[in-house]
Symmetry: C2
Subunit: 127 residues, 2 copies
């Protein structure tokens, strides 16, 4: 499984191409953008601030991805998480998954997002 | 819920923008590309041919989307299905969903794809 993980302080734009060629047996590309909403709890916000223990966050994400790949075999996964100030309406995270069939791509992506919220050292706070 | 359904004989490219502005409460954009694989059953193929009873396909898709929107409320859905000859490696379908939280977007998308395969009059065949 091809894995790319990136933490960035730059805006996350829609990726135009994948940095890895598609496998001829890839039948599904599932992509997720997590966007900062205007409402956080009961408050209207202008944005959020994300900070990370970066080397550990990348390490834990990679471990989780490798483990999930055993349950839901996929061909490639790309994660981009933004750090620093992220305004409402901007992307905080992008996850893209290439898989043979759509089923395992959906499952992988959902499980990965659940895991990410659990114990990856990336924190969001009001700025 | 904003709904757009398109059947097209042109290649499906990655959409650069959405034709509808994002709701400030949209926290998730989930996108799916269904890609023609090199192997269909046990055969290596150059591509597939998709044909539809177009007006009926659009009508049935819209009905299914409206029904699914009651189960998994989402803000916007966009479906583009390709017709005619689609070569291996090319997208046969794109589905994008905007939702408040990721959960309902994932569920909507998975259920929609399952429903699409069941009784929408779009057929694939070897060319």
């Amino acid at each position: 499984m091809w894995i790319a993980i990136e933490l960035t302080r730059d805006p996350i734009l829609r990726p135009q191409t994948w940095p890895v060629p598609f496998d001829p047996e890839t039948g599904a590309l599932v992509e997720f953008f997590g966007i900062v909403r205007e409402t956080e709890g009961n408050d209207k916000i202008a944005g959020l601030q994300y900070e990370a223990y970066a080397t550990m966050a990348e390490k834990v994400m990679r471990e989780k991805i490798e483990l999930l790949g055993k349950q839901h075999p996929c061909q490639a996964i790309r994660v981009v998480h933004r750090l620093g100030a992220v305004r409402k309406g901007e992307n905080a995270i992008y996850v893209g998954i290439q898989s043979q069939h759509r089923r395992e791509g959906f499952l992988f992506l959902q499980d990965f997002m659940d895991e990410l919220k659990k114990d990856v050292p990336i924190w969001k706070q009001l700025p």
